[in-house]
């Protein structure tokens, strides 16, 4: 990109020769400065947060980390959040993958409609949705509305804009029609087509949408706190009311945890992609 590629030489000199792009070096320096500034802006809070957690009255120590790690609520609330996340991801994928495939294959004209529905959760903020949930589902059995099950069910909605978008672009990137017709032509049932042809081809999209859902659930505070469930983010705020250093420590922990998960997910996706390329070569 730095230099203009003149792959198509002009047959005659027209007087409009491509000008060499000037100032490449200046632009390059500006780019480095931009990256350094952004890196500083993004790393500063991380560094500052860590410094804050180890700051003692006289010197530095790890007491706030020890305090946090000794709290039984850490594993309890994180466990609850993870369970909710697993439920959300399962419902999300079971519902969204067939829907997206169906729209592409059978009802392309309804694609706009589904897309519009899928972004509706962005129009209705979580804090408003929770008002509606609390008043509309008063009559539901307690198994649903009184347990974190309701959170899973509603988080599927909150994650829908992202899940749909990721899966939709994933399906758009494969030649779905040919794959399905080939598989059907060879005698595969619809279930086999879905599980053994489509899902493996969508693997990286599915993984990415699962990651986004997981990140959303692990960070969701609004609904959980207003519906009085003690999830991980709700617990962080509780800790913060008495022990600011501890809360900052858990915040770093959750950031690193999210990073680790993203890394694991992208590793899974990359390994798969690599093996596919090798096979086709």
């Amino acid at each position: 990109m730095a230099a203009v590629s003149t792959a198509v030489p002009l047959p005659v000199t027209t007087g409009f020769e491509p000008r060499p792009r000037r100032g490449g070096r200046v632009v390059g320096t500006a780019r480095v400065v931009i990256f350094v500034l952004f890196a500083a802006y993004y790393l500063m809070p991380v560094v500052a947060a860590f410094e804050f957690t180890v700051r003692g009255t006289t010197g530095y120590n790890l007491s706030s980390w020890a305090y946090i790690l000794s709290q039984p609520d850490l594993t309890a609330t994180l466990g609850l959040s993870l369970k909710i996340a697993v439920g959300t991801i399962a419902i999300s994928l079971l519902m969204m993958v067939p829907t997206v495939v169906w729209v592409h294959l059978r009802a392309p004209r309804l694609r706009r409609v589904i897309e519009a529905v899928s972004v509706l959760p962005l129009v209705i903020p979580a804090v408003v949705l929770v008002v509606g949930v609390l008043s509309a589902f008063q009559g539901l059995p307690n198994v649903i509305k009184g347990t974190p099950v309701i959170l899973s069910l509603e988080y599927v909605i909150l994650a829908m804009p992202y899940t749909y978008r990721v899966l939709d672009s994933g399906v758009g990137a494969i030649d779905l029609k040919t794959l399905v017709e080939a598989a059907r032509g060879l005698g595969a049932s619809w279930l086999e087509v879905l599980l053994r042809v489509i899902v493996p081809n969508l693997r990286s999209s599915i993984l990415f949408s699962a990651f986004l859902t997981l990140a959303l659930v692990l960070g969701e505070f609004t609904m959980a706190s207003l519906m009085l469930f003690n999830t991980f983010p709700v617990w962080i705020v509780q800790v913060g009311q008495s022990q600011a250093q501890g809360a900052v420590a858990v915040s770093i922990f959750s950031l690193v945890f999210a990073w680790f998960l993203l890394f694991a997910f992208s590793l899974l996706g990359a390994r798969r992609r690599g093996s596919r390329r090798r096979r086709s070569a």
């Binding site: 792009r21 947060a49 509606g132 990721v166 030649d175």
Partner: protein, 314 residues
């Protein structure tokens, strides 16, 4: 966002357009009948789910905002939501979201452009997009606490600046004020912007730049007449999404200010938690309706812009 490496050129609709194989092949008759029946049947699970867990609560908010506590129709909730402290809360919310969205969008665009034009793009892109994925999803609560450690009264940056003779809290800055919230909101708006604008920036084909250069255009003229107009709808669209994102945010503001800053989500939250008079139980719904209306207007603009964008970037 997650384009597999194996499919560089063939993407999306363009790939499928020249294949109208209607009525060819031995199976087409059976297929078209299933297509007719199945078009709706296959979407039933999704439609039912959305209706139940999104539609029902929303309708209950809308209806509830026009009812009093015993269910009789009234306009008093809506009227209360549009006057006095609640009107000011709406204005404050809009101001905050607009500031965060504009700053975040501009900075995010700068970062995306710098990244797209970088010669060593691949690794850098991987680092920036995955970091954006994390930072955009960190969630408000951890973010709020990390900023307390950075720019709070005892934060590292606050203390470092004070040691250099600049006491920002004496100069009028507070993390727990409007300005402070903007600083924190921008932190999660930029990564979101990068993730949203990157496909559009990538959609600017190098060949267009080359064509412009071949025709004698300077870089400035290229951006003025080609790149800029192409990016503008995508930029404005992303800006609107950033606005709604900030407008709906509750966790950051709550964790930072423990509910003292008067923005609409916080007001709804405290109405729900029962920090107010009991006879106003439907006022929260009226505020919710107001939020839905504001976001709906913004999203309608967004949909319009999307149509313009997709005309170019396919």
């Amino acid at each position: 966002m997650v384009a597999p490496a194996g499919t560089p050129a063939v993407r999306g609709r363009a790939a499928r357009r020249p294949a109208p194989d209607r009525g060819t092949g031995p199976r087409s008759r059976g297929l078209s009948r299933t297509r007719f029946l199945g078009r709706w049947a296959g979407l039933a699970p999704f439609a039912l789910y959305a209706a139940l867990f999104l539609g029902v609560p929303t309708v209950s908010v809308v209806i509830g905002s026009f009812q009093d506590n015993s269910g009789h129709p009234t306009l008093s909730n809506v009227s209360a939501a549009a006057h006095g402290i609640y009107l000011r809360a709406f204005l404050e919310s809009i101001r905050l979201s607009a500031a965060a969205a504009v700053i975040g969008a501009v900075l995010g665009l700068v970062l995306a452009l710098a990244m797209a034009s970088s010669p060593r793009g691949r690794l850098l892109r991987h680092v920036v997009t995955s970091a954006s994925g994390v930072f955009a999803n960190v969630g408000g609560v951890p973010l709020a606490f990390m900023f307390i450690a950075t720019l709070g009264n005892l934060g590292m940056v606050t203390r470092a600046l004070a040691a250099m003779g600049l006491d920002i809290y004496n100069a009028g800055f507070s993390l727990f004020s409007f300005t402070g919230l903007v600083v924190v909101y921008v932190y999660f708006e930029i990564p979101l912007m990068v993730l949203m604008i990157l496909p559009a920036v990538d959609g600017l084909k190098i060949q267009w730049g080359e064509a412009a250069a071949n025709l004698g255009a300077s870089r400035w003229r290229y951006w003025r007449h080609v790149g800029g107009p192409l990016l503008l709808p995508a930029f404005l669209g992303a800006l609107l999404l950033l606005f709604t994102n900030a407008f709906a945010a509750y966790a950051t503001a709550y964790a930072l200010t423990t509910g003292t800053i008067p923005i609409v989500p916080i007001q709804i939250g405290s109405l729900l938690s029962g920090n107010v008079l009991v006879d106003q139980q439907n006022l929260g719904k009226a505020l919710g309706l107001g939020m839905i209306l504001v976001v709906a207007v913004v999203m309608a603009l967004y949909a319009w812009l999307q149509r313009r964008t997709s005309r170019w970037l396919r």
